[in-house]
Structure formats: C-alpha cells, structure tokens
Subunit: 432 residues, 2 copies
C-alpha cells in the first residue's frame, strides 16, 4: 500500500523550486537552532524550514500519541525511539498540513510566523546523538580497487568478503554536521623506505563517499534481528563523508583495523530522509556471487537507486565534480548489514549510525575516494582553477550530494559540505 | 602533596572488614537502585553503600559548587564532566563525613536511615553512559603470545607495535555491569579445512582480563592532549572483561579488525575507583624498547601496581583461580594511550571508556585469556569439579578481581562477574 505522504500528485502551498531535493513527498527530519536561539526538531519543504516543536505546541499533531516535548529536544533520538508507526503518522500529518488544498495553517499568518523559517535564519545541528557508529565495507568495486592497489590484483577481495558484510566500529565523538570545518590531522607514518616512523601532518587526506542509516531501538542484548525485518528498525538515511588519512591508515591498521586514520572527523548531511520517503526508489541488490548463509538472504528489493556526486571546491575557485556514483551499486544492502551486525546479539539503539563504506561504481568516474579516482595519486584530477589534486589540499571544501528521481518526483538529501583547514594550532584554536 | 582523602591513618565509623577493597581511603563512585527503586549516584565504605543524592539533599556537600541534581542521575557523566577539582572536593568531603572522629552523621539516626544501605538492598547499575569505547592492545606479552600462535614466532610483534599504542574502536551498546548474564553468540566461522563458512554457536568463547579507564571532557575537535597532561582527564578505573569469540574473530577480522567476535558483550566492575585513590600505587612503566616519538614520551610514574586475578566457576562447583596478573605489566600506559588517541584531534568526552587490552604477564600463570592460558586449547585447565576447560562452557561464571596493597592500605575494585548462558532462544527470551 503506498504511503499517503508519498502521494506523487500532492503539491504544497509552500514554494518548491524546480529540481528541489525537498518536495512535499520528502519531509525529512533534522534539528536546528532558530533565529531566537531556540533548538528544535524540524522538517523542510522547498527552502522553508518547519519548526515541529512549535507546530506541536499549536496543536497541529492532535490525535497522534506524542509526548509534549518530543520535538523540543536537541536530538531526534527520542522521536526515533517512538518507532515507525509514529514516524509515519507525523510524516502523513505534515504532508496534510502543507498540502495545497489545506488552508488552515496557510491562512493563519500568526501561526506561520511562529512555525516557518527561511534557511538563512536557522543553523542546522547534528540531528542525532550517535550512540554507536559502525562502518561497513560493502561496495565490491571499492574493496576490489583497494585490494588491487595494496595487496594482490589476482586476489583483490579477501576470502571472507563475499560471505560477510565486513564492517568495523567507528568513533561517534567526531561525527559532525555539514558546515563545520575540520583540521588536517597529525600523526605517525612510516615513509616509503624508512626504518623509523615519523610524526607530522598527514599528507594524504581523502574523502570517502558514503551513505549512512540511522536506527531505532531494535533488540535486546542477545537477540538477533532477522534480515527481512531489518528495515522496520531503520529510520532513514544521510550522506556521509568518512574522512580518511591514508598515510596514517597504512602504518597503523594491522592487525586491528583503521583507528586514528578515521576518527578525526566524519561529516553527515543534516536532514535525515526517511526510508519511507525512499520507498518508491527501491531496486534489486546485485546478485550474490557466492551462496549466502540463510541469515543473510534478503527477499525482494532492498537496494535504493540514489544518484550521488562529489565535488571539490578549492579556496578561490568554483567546484569541480570529481565523482558520480550510485547507492544501488552496494553489494551488501542495509538489511543484510543490520542482520549481520545483530546475529551475535549485539544491541542496536535509537540514534545508532551505520555507514555503507565507500560507494564506488563500476567505472573510473564513479569511484568514491581520491585514492581510487587518482589511483594512489598516479592520475591527478584537475580543478577549475587549473591546479591538480592527488588528495585533498588545505582550504579545499569537499561537497557530496545525493538524490533519487523517478516519474517526475525527485527526493534528495541536500548536501554535506566540509572544509579542510590546516593543522590545529593550540595557541590560536583553543577555546577554553 | 598527598590528597586528604588518601590519608592512610584515617579510619571510618562504618565497619570495614579485614581485606576489604573499600576502606575509607578508596571512596569509589557508582550508580545504584535503592530498596525504594530510586536510582542514585553513590559511594561505598566497607560493605555499606552511601546514597550521595540523599547526602547532598541533606546539605552534607555545602560549600562545594554542585548542581542540586548532580547525584540524582542514572549515570556519572555529568559529575565526571565537572572535572577533577570537583571530584577531589567531593571525595575529601566523604572522607570527612565518615571519619571516625566525625560524629555529625554518625549520631544522626534519621539521616543514616536515609543515606546508608546494605549491599543486599541495592542493585548496581552501569555507572556511565559510555559515549565511545576504545580498546587498546598494550600488553607486550599478550601481543607476543597472539603473534606467536597465529603468525610467526620469530616476528610475533607487528612492525608498528613498539611505536604505537595500537588500539581500535569497540561497541558501547553491549557494555554491561557485573552480574548481567550473557548468551553464547552465534555467527559465521570457517572451520579448519573447510571451503565454505558455516553458521552456528561460537565454540571458542574466551574472556580477556583488562582494566578500563573513564575520561572526562578532554578536548575540542582537532585539539591534541599532551601526554603529560593526560591524567588530568582520567576519572578512574574499572575491571573489564572483554568477552571474545575466537572462531568468529579468526574468520572476520581481516582487514578491518575484530567486530562481531567482540561486540556481543563486555562486562565492567560497577565501582569506579578514582585515579586519585590509586595515586599511592603508581610505578614506572616498562622501559621503552624502541625510542618513542616525542608526543608519546611520558614523564615520571604513569603505571599502576594493581594485582589482578581471574576465576572460573562452573555451574555446580567452586571457583578455580586460572590467572594472576598485574596492571603494571602494561607496556603502554594510560597517558600514552590518551595522548595517542587525541594526537589527530579526535574528541574525548565525559563517560568515554578505554580498555587496556588483555593484560598478560611474563609467566604462563599470568596470561589474561584462555587462548593464552591453554595455548589455543592444547593445555586445558582443570576445574574444581574435575572437568577440563579449553575455553568457557555454558553456565560458567567468569570472575575478575583486582586490588592494590602497600604499607598496610588496600584499595580494590571488587569484582566483575558474568555468567555465560546458552544461545539466545527467541521464543523464550524475547521480552517485547
């Protein structure tokens, strides 16, 4: 049964520009600071932000079982914990309130002044307090590229890769929303041919084009989530830039995996697009190359056709698009990832985040990292100002965008945009 | 200057048994549920639990800048965020209140009824909400044993091991307090000689004897913590059992490190012993074998002499002590771990937890895991009921204990005790 909020024929009395990522069929969720410095949970239609805390106080969610302060919070965790039935009811109600045929709020100037904001009046925040963050490694093209470069082109995939959605734990504390600049990390590296490691700024800063999903409370300690129930526990998706320091990674990662090469920063787009909004864009995942163990056999369409792109904008130049990929290339889908993650009884909570791993497609233009796009720096990319990039330079801004499109409806994620600054200067930067 | 709360000559009007881990010089912090089902932050002297929330409401902390509800919380995170000066003032005050020479509370029967509990009247909770959990790999003996067994006895340590306090991110959601039973995890393994992986209960469940430290808010995104300031940001220590499934680990861990082999459960002792209480037991760390990069050079005594032991108690038998180790064997100390963790600007927050990694000593009796104690199952251990153990059996309880002792003062951690139950049965176990 199609979800009411997804009705493709619905239009809104709020202005929605052509090619907007945020038509009334999207209705994403985020957290923002208003012009009055109040933090609230909100949604967005076109370029108008909607204060859901204020809407709720004015009675617009009457009939939906919600606590009074559910939207007057600085994270979405409690709302997400309310579960899919509640998310759907709220999304449907927002679609009704802003439907072209509904004049109740449209004709109430006083209420509109309280509830609606221009984007330049608000400041987007991290939408969830991420309890635990896991990063998968689920693009076969990416794993093959990395294996070819660093190990053995004839055995690029590790023996476990086609049997397991390989993943590892990441760091929650350095997940930041779009717009927050980061510093080039320093660390230990072992230069080619050296016998002792050295300390200094990383020379090989890279992005990783990923998407990440956000979960609700899913299971008790010990309890696995069946693969074909997994989507019930996924609230929505964001764009995710898993910043990486390749030289630090190379020296530190044996035998326990990446650590400081990853945990200096990961950036996310601030609007969480619900799995419900993405329902019309479901596609089949790639056919498994090896037989799957039963706990990983997902039925039906569990992939999503989401166009992705990455741009680099040097300090005083226009941006250059450096990659065009698609989320549908993922070999392992989110249902398989969540089933695998919990098959041992690992508990998953509201606000937990799981990254896809770098999303590389089959062509060179669709690779999801500089490591692959420039093939370890052998084939630099040219920027709009004529400068070349093997990896990311100081003051470069990396921008990722994503959207689905089908039968005239476009649902998008906006962008995650992060500038890389030079190394942290403790004299200049320390706040305390 | 010695800390007032550490005065070895002080005695308490509360009974403290001989060999108690909790004399008035300890004053640990924890969270418990009282007989009235109220959750509160507390401390402990001897076998008496102290309700700090009630003490504060009764005015006993007057003069110390504390918010009214600082102890009326279900985690210590906010109190820990108040910083070392506050922790010290509170610990000193508790020492004064319960000093043998102080009769104010001692003679106030009404107040004592509100504030004091027998241990069997309370239920210990997880003391912190762990934002991020990191596990290090800092015992040279452990890393050497594992490298010898699984890789190459002649090159047991990886090339980076003597240069980096190697660590990786763990999972916060499955950290549980002592007393909560866990289920044997299921998962994918590749049996010896097989060509396809199989699914089923792990056959090689192991403990790892660790200690873990808990931090306060330490730094901004981008800001490193200097190695010789690191202890300022460490609140205290607990015993930590990093449960491991060796067969799952072996198949999954390349190239991104352990994942499901670890994240089904990690158990901690419920009383956090402050670094201040452990001050008298500081010792030199082992001499570095290779020169250290400057950011890892710690000055003075940064190790701690803490006696550790592990016992296994089968279902209907007495416990057998299977390991006796010591925290002082750690090659990398906590200051080096925290400096390394933040050298790239990774933020560390109040309630974050960092495990030492398995603490193995130089002798066979001091190894910190069944993997090492039985040398991969080649030399089984005998239990008190005559049964043998290569790894942990269903219904076994694993108990870890730790204490320091010097000049007649003993400061201890109590214990972390966890029973392993058979695999989760979704019919029988599901609560919802």
């Amino acid at each position: 049964m199609p979800l009411s909020a997804n009705n493709p024929d619905r239009t809104s009395w709020l202005h929605v520009g052509k090619n907007s990522d945020f038509p009334i069929q999207n209705i994403p969720f985020g957290v923002f600071l208003t012009r009055d410095d109040i933090i609230t949970i909100g949604s967005r239609i076109g370029d108008t932000a909607i204060d859901l805390g204020a809407l709720h106080q004015l009675g617009y969610f009457e009939g939906i079982p919600l606590t009074d302060d559910i939207f007057l919070q600085d994270t979405l965790n409690d709302f997400i914990a309310d579960g899919r039935k509640t998310w759907r009811a709220v999304r449907d109600r927002i679609a009704e309130i802003f439907d072209s045929n509904n004049t109740i709020l449209k004709n109430n100037t006083k209420h509109k002044e309280i509830v609606l904001f221009r984007l330049d009046e608000i400041e987007m925040q991290l939408p969830v307090q991420v309890g635990d963050y896991t990063d998968f490694y689920s693009s076969m093209e990416h794993a093959t590229n990395v294996g070819t470069m660093f190990r053995d082109p004839d055995n690029a995939l590790m023996p476990n890769w086609l049997h397991i959605p390989v993943g590892y734990h990441g760091r929650s504390s350095s997940i930041i929303p779009s717009g927050i600049p980061i510093h080039r990390p320093q660390g230990q590296t072992m230069p080619e041919g050296a016998t002792e490691p050295i300390f200094g700024p990383s020379k090989l800063i890279d992005f990783e084009l990923e998407m990440a999903f956000i979960t609700t409370d899913a299971n008790d300690l010990g309890e696995p989530i069946p693969v074909n129930e997994a989507e019930e526990y996924i609230f929505g998706l964001v764009l995710f830039n898993d910043w990486s320091a390749r030289d630090i990674q190379k020296w530190e990662y044996v035998p326990l995996g990446p650590f400081l090469a990853k945990n200096f920063a990961s950036s996310m787009s601030p609007w969480i697009v619900t799995l419900d909004a993405l329902e019309p864009f479901k596609v089949e995942s790639p056919k498994p190359i090896k037989p799957l163990l039963p706990y990983l056999k997902s039925k039906g369409k569990k992939g999503y056709d989401i166009n992705l792109e990455v741009a680099i904008r040097p300090k005083n130049a226009k941006e250059a698009i450096v990659s065009k990929s698609n989320f549908k290339y993922m070999y392992w889908n989110m249902s398989q990832q969540l089933a695998h993650h919990t098959v041992n009884g690992c508990p998953v909570n509201s606000g937990d985040m799981m990254g896809s791993g770098t999303i590389s497609g089959p062509t060179e233009e669709s690779y999801g990292s500089m490591l692959e796009l420039t093939w370890r720096g052998e084939k630099p990319l040219t920027m709009k100002d004529g400068t070349e990039r093997k990896f990311i330079n100081d003051f470069d801004t990396v921008i990722m965008r994503g959207h689905c499109e089908k039968d005239g409806t476009r649902i998008g994620f906006g962008e995650v945009s992060t500038q890389l600054l030079p190394i942290y200067n403790s004299q200049k930067n320390k706040k305390k």
